[in-house]
């Protein structure tokens, strides 16, 4: 696969951050095209290129490590702990299923 177009669902707060920065509302999900096979590392890099205001909000800018309270789900599976260069499941690669970026639940 030379390229993959991946649908990404962002947390609402980050959609708000994009809008408040003057960019158009990205909508319920964002499609980004990356060199295949798509990995969450490549998807995040593409997101940050399109929306520079997201830099540092999902992963550490120095190390690339996922922020602790951010998780990635694909096809009902938590892929947060897979390597950033691990290919995402095929339905995500093909755009049939989104990559969900989910924040830890806050409550109490």
């Amino acid at each position: 696969m030379t390229e993959a177009t991946v649908r990404v669902v962002l947390p609402t707060a980050l959609r708000d951050l994009i809008r408040s920065s003057g960019a158009a509302d990205p909508g319920a999900d964002v499609s980004v095209t990356v060199a295949g096979p798509a990995t969450w590392g490549r998807v995040l890099a593409a997101l940050e290129t399109r929306y520079p205001m997201l830099r540092g909000t999902l992963r550490d800018q120095a190390t690339g490590a996922r922020r602790p309270l951010i998780r990635f789900f694909a096809c009902g599976t938590d892929v947060s702990h897979t390597d950033a260069d691990q290919p995402l499941p095929d339905p995500v690669q093909l755009g049939r299923e989104p990559l969900l970026i989910v924040t830890a639940v806050a409550g109490g």
């Binding site: 707060a13 951050l17 408040s20 540092g56 924040t103």
Partner: protein, 424 residues
């Protein structure tokens, strides 16, 4: 549309609330002001015809759930409050450039998404995201953790922003874990001044309950390359070369929780303040003890005197009288609320030791809020105004040096910081 609050504490989402409704919301009394406040007024005139006022004071309020800006004329009797800006984000600090009053910097952060920095070039009416890459430079050392083990330095958030007194594009940021960063391009890039974090004593620094935070940056008004910083829990360090090299400035401090109570570092300094006319005199609210230095921090002595408690967080100096100092005593290190549940600001007109309570207009029963270290500020009008934000979301203001107090905001999120711009 931003929420609009009035001094009476009533909120409305209408930019121009009808007077009838405003009267009803004010218990049948005529409201003290009806000010359109959908946007933040710049310095200049604001309000409707016949009700205009010259904005003389702008109060910058950081809270757990966003930032707010309050404005008033020089009477400081009525206020317009706009916000929340950056709704939902913890705003540890909002600060203005002393060079350009329309240049503001804010530090919203969030546990999920980390740090952002916002900049306004129009007095808070609009904001733009600028750089947020706070990267420790070079070797990442270790510092003590609560349990005595060593932990590597880890960036968590910006606690304090200090715009340069000589250049609107230069701003310093104090962070947790404690380090000092400086931007010289209006907040776009943030190189670290590594001389501080790599100081010989840094491995012996340890976090206070709030984290290992650099929370105070003071410039010497005679020379902006000379500065003091305060770190909890390390103490005070000073630099005479724009932050390249540092030396500790903690002689005279005593902290009984330390194995060596008079150690060179490890002190939980909560805040330091100075008066520009007498820059070698520094005042300190420490974890316990209110302290003073007459030699630029080379040595300190206690001035707690007759305070009901010498535990507290903020300390402020009267803008026109270097001998007048304010603190907000709280009961103890485990009871972060005012003694007897009565919120009293204490004022010394003698540079310490002798203190008087100021309470008229402040809650005098069942008050169990705290005032955090950056949540006390003064304006420069005559007589000077005082502004205090509480963890209960109240903003109290005095237009007469603390003799009487009114409430600007009553139900805001917990207040983290209060800064004031005097625009006239």
């Amino acid at each position: 549309m931003p929420l609009c609050l009035r001094i009476c504490g009533v909120a409305t989402r209408e930019e121009f609330a009808p007077r009838r409704r405003a009267r009803a919301e004010n218990g049948g009394r005529e409201p003290r002001t009806v000010t359109p406040c959908g946007t933040v007024p710049r310095h200049g005139r604001c309000g409707r015809a016949g009700e205009v006022a010259e904005v003389a004071v702008r109060v910058l309020i950081g809270t757990r759930k966003g930032a707010f800006i309050a404005t008033s004329d020089d009477t400081r009797r009525s206020w317009s409050v706009t916000g929340p800006l950056f709704a939902g984000w913890e705003v540890y600090h909002v600060q203005a450039s002393p060079v350009d009053p329309d240049r503001l910097y804010a530090a919203p952060s969030r546990g999920w998404f980390g740090q952002t920095i916002q900049r306004s070039d129009d007095g808070g009416r609009s904001w733009q995201l600028v750089g947020n890459d706070f990267r420790y430079d070079g070797e990442i050392g270790d510092h003590f953790w609560y349990d005595g083990t060593l932990r590597p330095w880890h960036f968590t958030r910006v606690w304090h922003l200090a715009p340069s007194p000589v250049d609107a594009n230069t701003v310093y940021a104090g962070t947790e874990d404690a380090a000092l960063f400086v931007s010289s391009d209006g907040g776009q890039t943030w190189p670290e001044l590594t001389g501080l974090r790599c100081h010989d004593t840094a491995p012996n620094w340890a976090p206070g309950a709030g984290g290992l935070c650099l929370h105070t940056i003071l410039f010497d008004p005679r020379d902006a390359t000379r500065m003091h910083v305060a770190i909890s829990a390390a103490g005070v360090l000073r630099s005479d070369d724009a932050g390249l090299t540092w030396r500790t400035a903690n002689r005279g401090l005593r902290s009984d929780f330390l194995p060596q109570p008079e150690a060179d570092v490890g002190h939980c300094v909560h805040k330091i303040a100075r008066h520009p006319a007498r820059p070698d005199v520094l005042f300190m609210q420490k974890h316990w003890d209110v302290m003073r230095s007459d030699d630029g921090g080379d040595s300190w002595y206690e001035i707690s005197g007759d305070l009901p408690s010498d535990f507290g967080f903020p300390i402020a100096v009267h803008p026109h009288d270097p001998d007048t100092v304010y603190v907000v005593p709280i009961t103890s290190d485990t009871e972060h609320f005012p003694p007897e549940g009565r919120l009293r600001i204490y004022r010394s007109r003698t540079g310490g030791r002798y203190w008087e309570p100021l309470s008229k207009g402040l809650p005098q029963e069942h008050c169990y809020v705290n005032v955090l270290r950056d949540a006390f500020a003064t304006d420069e009008l005559e007589p000077c105004g005082l502004y205090v934000g509480t963890t209960g979301g109240q903003i109290y203001a005095s237009a007469d040096e603390g003799a009487t107090w009114t409430t600007i905001g009553r139900d805001l999120p917990a207040v983290l910081s209060v800064e004031v711009q005097t625009l006239r």
